[in-house]
């Protein structure tokens, strides 16, 4: 095979890759772009065919309308923040020591326990939803933000433990031995030596847990009625009630996803490394 033909074949392959990448961007971005564009357009401009994209039809009205008229959205966002922050923070506080113990502290059957923890993350919600619903209603805690937060804690704990355990396993043992020689106890070593070098994976775990809790719908549907409704529930109701006000519906959706999209973009590299790796390492 001549050098020239190999080069032209190479160029052909590069063209193929570029076309593929363009297709990938269109496929990923088109629906999101349409969400943003239609949230910024006036209703009359949206319901003519084809939509009238002239500059004068773009407005922030949908956003102001939806914020002013829908108290539920504000409450939903507040509830989502409370539930997501609570379940993430507590998951980190009790998950980090557990992950450390499973990775380093000679807990009997640590590997089996770690896999059991991972398996709980795969549990289909419906398998525990019915008894949880019965217990929580008996306790009078339906529509209670903290009850929902506790349920989310049980999903976030496995995520946190699994991501952090992978990281702790990779810490060189010498660090802990040296600390022990210097007279540091296990707790002291963990708090003053291990945790400070674990900020990046802690961040990745936190982002993951927060996004999961923020987006969760099924348990919010079953365990809340009104006061404790989180943002996904509010959005689903909007789609039922305001279903002809397309611009406002999209504005509400855009507001609801903005915080997690921002987190995902800021922490994209940690997400890529922390989680994708964690799902494949034993």
């Amino acid at each position: 095979m001549s050098f020239a033909s190999a080069r032209s074949r190479d160029r052909g392959f590069r063209v193929l890759v570029v076309v593929g990448l363009i297709l990938f961007v269109v496929w990923s971005a088109a629906p999101i772009l349409w969400l943003i564009v239609s949230s910024l357009m006036q209703q009359q401009a949206l319901i003519v065919q084809p939509p009238d994209f002239s500059l004068g039809n773009f407005t922030l009205e949908n956003f102001t309308e939806v914020i002013v008229s829908a108290a539920a959205l504000g409450r939903g966002i507040l509830n989502s923040f409370i539930v997501a922050l609570f379940s993430t923070a507590v998951a980190l506080v009790i998950g980090a020591p557990a992950a450390y113990a499973l990775a380093r502290l000679a807990v009997p059957r640590a590997n089996a326990l770690a896999f059991l923890v991972l398996a709980t993350q795969m549990l289909p919600g419906i398998a525990i939803a019915i008894p949880l619903f019965l217990v929580i209603s008996r306790l009078g805690l339906i529509d209670n933000v903290l009850a929902l937060g506790l349920v989310y804690l049980s999903f976030n704990l496995p995520i946190v433990i699994w991501i952090l355990r992978g990281f702790f396993l990779a810490i060189p043992e010498g660090i802990e031995k040296a600390a022990a020689v210097d007279g540091a106890g296990v707790v002291g070593t963990f708090l003053h030596i291990v945790l400070p070098i674990s900020i990046p994976p802690l961040g990745a775990a936190a982002v993951f847990a927060f996004v999961e809790a923020w987006n969760e719908f099924f348990f919010a549907l079953i365990l809340t009625r009104q006061d404790a409704q989180t943002v996904p529930l509010v959005i689903a109701q909007f789609a039922g009630q305001y279903q002809t006000l397309f611009g406002q519906m999209m504005a509400a959706a855009a507001i609801s996803i903005a915080p997690v999209i921002a987190l995902a973009i800021i922490f994209r590299n940690q997400i890529v490394r922390g989680f994708a790796d964690g799902m494949m390492k034993g």
């Binding site: 990448l21 990938f24 990923s28 971005a29 999101i32 349409w34 969400l35 239609s38 949206l46 319901i47 065919q49 939509p51 020591p97 557990a98 113990a101 499973l102 380093r104 502290l105 000679a106 807990v107 326990l113 923890v117 398996a119 795969m122 549990l123 289909p124 919600g125 419906i126 398998a127 939803a129 008894p131 949880l132 619903f133 217990v135 049980s154 704990l157 106890g185 296990v186 707790v187 996004v211 987006n215 719908f217 099924f218 549907l221 943002v231 996904p232 529930l233 959005i235 789609a239 959706a253 996803i257 999209i261 995902a264 994209r268 997400i271 890529v272 994708a276 799902m279 494949m280 390492k281």
Partner: protein
Amino acid sequence: MSSTSFERRRRRAGLLFVAPAAIVLLAILAYPIVESFILSTQSVRLVAGGVTKEWNSFANYIRLAGDETFRRAVVNTMIFSFGEVALVVSIGLAVALLLNHPLGRWGFFRIMLVVPWAIAPVANAVLWKWILNSNYGILNGLLKSLGLIEYYQVWLARPWSAFGFLLLIDVWKSVPFIALLLLAGLQRVPQSLYKAAYMDGAGRWQAFRHVTLPTMRSALAIAVVLQTIWSLRVFEIIFVLTRGGPADATVLMNFLAYRVTFNFLDIGYGAAIANIIFALTFLLAITYVWLMQPRKRRISS
């Protein structure tokens, strides 16, 4: 004897460290799993603010066997899961290969990957409800102006069309994560293997076929199992877009369990359906754990 006391101290601390997490997981997950199994063997009635339960042997499970709707849901779930796994893993692999190519390393592409991942399933469903709207939706407008359809279609009114769109929407949402997973796998394929293959005169396709695919085998298997597990949980898009209709064409097992329990209040029967899903997931989870073990350990065991 300082080393033994060192070990002993570490073991004691270990149990202390694990305890809070273990208690939370046992209370919120383990108890409901057991209770869910018990409920499935009972006939449960809601009466004036309370619940009465009565052992009815395995009547709920026996009822499943003759239930036409359940059979429909099982078939739907099988088609949905199979279609979703095939599409998500092949598109995910294509995306991972693209992003692993030197031209695909631009940070912007990673943003395009994490954004659909982070979007709430509900927001995704609501967005597609608008895209698919029969009077004003952009899909009808687009297809008509391209001359592909003559009249505006009510996409969610016909069984196969509704089913197909639910599948497409969920595939769109699921591809990024699997692509990330496979990308991590690709980056672990040793470059020396490619060099050796090219030196032996292998072409691109041969290198893919004989180097990439074999080393990616366990990553691909993990992707298949995980995506199967996740496909059994699909809920939001059905809830927002079709509620199982038209004519139960989009009722998957998970949605059926929800509907039977929380709409029809047939709690024992709902628990039986939920337990079938649990059993399926459990088997898949075991497969996943087995796949994650390093190859050597797997062969010796």
